[in-house]
């Protein structure tokens, strides 16, 4: 059994303790364990595959750099989400809002079963509706709807108050409802 396999059953907190002693296999295990959620949330927030991977890499490097000072006063994943949220918010400050029209993919898709095309169109509609949200609403909704965080943990992961997160979510879901129903009418 490899060391990495051995570490699979070790808790995140214990891995951070090992990482603090420069045990880099612990970092490898943390990456393996959490990269899917990191990449998914970064992609949903930015809409950019390459950028999501850069953010993912930087997030784990920040985990590594912080290992010696890490204090497990909340779940490791909440802390990890907070790193990603901050990296994404930094990015949003630097760039123009995500917009983008739905491309005409009808020709490319015409050979596929109608249900597949419909599913793809629904997914595209959702992606565009999410992308059109103001940054903070998008962050809140990605964490709450797609990453399965509660209002409380979304507040922990963003550093915003619970009432602020509630307000962002109420507005975000209302905007998404409207946006999706408008796209449906088209």
């Amino acid at each position: 059994m490899s060391l990495n396999n051995t570490l699979e059953t070790v808790s995140d907190t214990q891995l951070m303790v090992r990482l603090a002693t420069d045990d880099q296999t612990a970092l490898g295990t943390l990456v393996q364990r959490h990269q899917r959620r990191v990449l998914e949330v970064a992609y949903r927030m930015t809409g950019d595959h390459a950028l999501a991977q850069d953010i993912g890499q930087e997030a784990f490097l920040r985990v590594w750099r912080s290992a010696k000072r890490y204090k497990p006063t909340a779940q490791f994943t909440t802390w990890l989400y907070r790193i990603i949220v901050n990296l994404c918010l930094d990015e949003f400050k630097r760039r123009k809002p995500i917009t983008g029209d739905v491309p005409d993919g009808a020709d490319a898709c015409s050979y596929q079963a109608e249900t597949v095309v419909e599913a793809r169109e629904r997914a595209t509609a959702v992606q565009l509706a999410i992308a059109a949200l103001p940054d903070r609403q998008r962050v809140a909704v990605v964490l709450h709807r797609f990453s399965g965080l509660t209002v409380r943990t979304t507040a922990d992961a963003t550093g915003w108050s619970e009432s602020a997160v509630e307000s962002l979510l109420v507005r975000a879901y209302a905007a998404l409802r409207q946006s999706l129903s408008e796209q449906e009418k088209k």
Partner: protein
Amino acid sequence: MSCQRESVIVRLVGGELAEAEEREVRLHLAACTTCAEAFEGLRGTWDELGAWNVDPTEIDLTDRVLARVTEPEDPTRHQQFFSTYRGASLRVAASIALAAGLGIATGAMVPRDPGLKAAQFASAPSPVELVEALGLAELSTPSATGLPLGFETEAPEGAEVGP
């Protein structure tokens, strides 16, 4: 029981109300058309959002991350990340449109184009520009999140919640 705040409906749809509270809210919904409609509307949106699947399983960051950890300490490391970052940001709208066009929205994320980084570096801003544009004071922060370690959950000073 009086009508529900919208945030309670959000928590109900998210499945995060305590059992007793959920029972109480559901009793109200059974008797109030306005709140029942609000609930059904939000639940419909919640379900619709589920159409967007993202599958990053083909991507493995392990080698990339460990390669950076084992390389000698490079003082420009953060700058490199942000210069790459900035270059990448210009492609966001195009990427979304392309992803949608290719149907990536419903499927797997694509592995990063290895040629991309070189192209981005070619147009990277100068270190001076970076310091100004990126607020590199952040680079010396003792916390990975930019906030004190230990998961303080209060909003950082000056944090805005709008829009």
